[in-house]
């Protein structure tokens, strides 16, 4: 399957509808030859035709496997709304501000994911878009340790209703959750299971420390059985102090978490991943 490099070569609009198949076939042949001269392409085995599993006896109905080079191509959206101010806009390496954005009189806008107009190509990072989605649909883990859990449930139910801000569905399984709200005193015996919960959560995940006990040990700081702050055993994004904080306090903390996710948009891969327990703990 031959695909054009859409950035360099815009779709040819002047082509006659009656162009013969042989012309098109020649063009494809030429491209294939050009590719074949590249050493990497020469070494690669010819594309293998995979059959659809439900049509074993019909090779023409078989599905074609996508090669790695196809996946890397940009998504091309057919442009039906505007024409570029300069025909060489994309081919001539000109900045986006003098092309379609000038046409639509939105020069103050940059050509990024925030732009919601019709674009031929959306040049963005998947993480930018995904983080926006993540921030507005936080799924906390329903794991209460002690007193704060009651206020966490109060924040989720009728009077305070966290659902308004897009963070309702309290999941009972760590494998479906985004946010671990550690609500209540963390004891040394519970520290192991809690770290295991944290490590079971899939990777875009955040941690909110709710209550004084989880922030610093709180009123049990001097106890022999209490971990003085959960940041000793796992990374924490937002601290919500209070003994216990009001439900409004927790909601404010979760809104701060949304803000934090949006500000760090696209920087998720920079964050430390993997085992969160430092050596020597």
């Amino acid at each position: 399957m031959a695909m054009r490099d859409a950035r360099r070569e815009p779709p040819d609009r002047d082509r006659q509808p009656g162009a013969t198949d042989s012309q098109h076939g020649q063009q494809v042949e030429a491209e294939r030859d050009r590719n074949a001269t590249l050493p990497a392409e020469r070494d690669r085995a010819p594309e293998r035709i995979q059959m659809a599993s439900d049509q074993p006896s019909h090779p023409e109905g078989a599905l074609q496997a996508a090669s790695p080079s196809d996946v890397a191509e940009p998504i091309v959206v057919e442009n039906t709304l505007w024409t570029a101010a300069s025909p060489n806009a994309y081919g001539g390496n000109q900045p986006a501000s003098i092309t379609h954005l000038r046409e639509l009189d939105v020069e103050d806008k940059s050509d990024n994911a925030r732009w919601s107009g019709a674009l031929e190509i959306i040049p963005t990072k998947a993480d930018y878009v995904l983080d926006l989605i993540r921030a507005n649909s936080l799924w906390p883990l329903l794991s209460g340790l002690a007193c704060c859990a009651i206020e966490m449930m109060s924040a989720a139910t009728s009077r305070n209703d966290m659902d308004r801000f897009g963070m309702f569905p309290f999941r009972a399984s760590p494998r479906q959750a985004d946010v671990l709200i550690v609500a209540g005193t963390l004891t040394t015996k519970m520290a192991g299971p809690l770290v295991r919960l944290w490590e079971q959560m899939p990777e875009p995940k955040w941690c909110v420390a709710m209550g004084d006990c989880t922030c610093s040990g709180g009123r049990y700081k001097r106890s022999y059985a209490v971990v003085e702050g959960i940041d000793r055993i796992m990374p924490v994004d937002v601290y919500v102090p209070g003994c216990p904080p009001r439900p409004e306090g927790l909601i404010y903390g979760m809104l701060k978490l949304q803000q934090l996710i949006i500000e760090r948009r696209g920087h998720w891969p920079d964050r430390q991943v993997g085992p969160s327990v430092p050596a020597g703990v």
């Binding site: 519970m190 299971p193 022999y224």
Partner: protein, 407 residues
């Protein structure tokens, strides 16, 4: 160790890595059996399987861990593992003075902390032979009964939630938040009130509390009836709780159970009536009981008690005397050397405290008797033979609070 053993982190100690067979590492402790009971429990017969319930499980009301031995969908045996919320409250109380003990005992029973914070207060007053002003006693009873209703409202919601119904807990929290906001106007805190003081209470009733209380009293009974309709006529709820976890009187007494689980078997034991304290002898109320002793009876009993509490609050508001709310006591309290036992009726049963004073300003020993701990023991008697899903219904109907169990 066999070749397929895996190196995993111990559940009990995060610094400890143990070699355990990976297939059953969740349930089997990483040490050899310490008793005959443990050896028998962890010896699996053909077709039996060990699974973990908790410590993180929405139905365990905190961080209780129960190792279930199951055969198919039936629970054969179970082994509760406690201590995941052990905060060393009793030891901390010995290190501060008597006033500090009030706020340290607060989070023991965190759904009804007005009761657990009364422990050092009443024990110290008994050691001091202190006369508490009558208005303070009435305010205490008012706060206790309000907190009892809030706790019972949550019980109903949790029971339904553990059976798979989300709606009732939304209504429970409406009522609970109304009461808790009212108490916050009185005490300044929603959950851990820290309101009772040795010799009285922290502050007199204020205008905001009284206006909120008046609003609530005007529709409290009606709201209770409405919430009750959600579950009483729900066929799924009734069929899943009726006849489930039936407890007989002898077992209940043998396990030292108190509170609603005991009264649901027909024994009218209530500390407010059996060993009267505060101004309860001056108030009229009845002790509701049920004969069946199953989960449904325990649920019904909680609703009856909430109605009685509304009745008590009504009387308290009519009989409330004027006067001070704090006794004249020195700031530094040194009770005489001696021992004192006090008990009150919390929403979960007899909440007791055994205090020893050595004559200093600190308690020498403060032993808390939490009813949840004794009520929870019934899970071991009631659950075997039932389905796994019914374990939740039984456990929720006993209403354990892990803060008091693990202390």
């Amino acid at each position: 160790m066999t070749a397929d053993a895996t190196r995993i982190r111990s559940l009990d100690d995060p610094t400890l890595f143990v070699d355990t067979p990976a297939t059953i590492y969740d349930a089997v402790p990483p040490y050899p059996p310490r008793s005959e009971r443990e050896a028998e429990f962890y010896h699996l017969r053909d077709g039996e399987l060990l699974i973990n319930l908790g410590p993180q499980h929405p139905s365990t009301h905190g961080v209780l861990r129960v190792v279930l031995k199951i055969d198919g969908e039936r629970v054969v045996d179970l082994d509760p593992v406690l201590g995941y919320l052990h905060r060393g409250v009793e030891k901390i109380c010995e290190n501060g003075d008597w006033h500090h003990a009030i706020s340290n005992c607060d989070p023991l029973e965190y759904v009804a902390s007005m009761f657990s914070e009364a422990m050092p207060v009443l024990a110290c007053e008994k050691l001091l032979d202190l006369e508490v002003p009558r208005r303070a006693e009435y305010i205490r009873v008012l706060a206790w009964e309000l907190n009892r209703i809030a706790s019972h409202a949550l019980f109903v919601g949790w029971l339904a939630l553990d059976l798979g119904g989300l709606t009732p807990i939304l209504y429970s929290f409406i009522e609970r938040d109304e009461i808790v906001e009212m108490l916050a106007a009185l005490t300044g805190q929603r959950l851990l009130f820290n309101y009772l003081r040795i010799g009285g209470v922290n502050g007199d009733l204020n205008h905001e509390f009284m206006s909120r209380l008046g609003d609530w009293m005007s529709h409290a009974a009606e709201q209770l009836d409405n919430n009750q309709k959600l579950l009483n006529e729900n066929e799924i709820f009734v069929r899943r709780t009726k006849g489930l976890g039936t407890l007989d009187r002898e077992t209940a007494l043998r396990l030292c159970m108190t509170g609603p689980p005991l009264r649901a078997t027909g024994i009218p034991y209530d500390v407010r009536r059996a060993h009267p304290y505060s101004v309860y002898p001056e108030l009229e109320f009845r002790i509701p009981t049920r004969e069946e002793g199953d989960s449904y009876a325990r649920y019904q009993l909680h609703l009856d008690e909430a109605r009685e509490s509304i009745h008590i609050i009504d009387q308290v508001l009519h009989q409330m005397p004027d006067g001070p709310v704090m006794a004249q006591i020195p700031r530094l309290i040194r009770p005489r050397p001696g021992r004192a036992w006090i008990a009150i009726e919390s929403p979960r049963g007899q909440y007791g405290c055994f205090a020893i004073s050595d004559g200093s300003d600190q308690p020498f020993r403060l032993r808390i008797r939490d009813p949840s701990y004794f009520n929870l023991q019934a899970v071991g008697v009631l659950t075997p033979g039932n389905l796994i899903a019914d374990t939740m219904a039984i456990m929720a109907s006993l209403d354990p609070i892990m803060g008091g169990i693990d202390k």
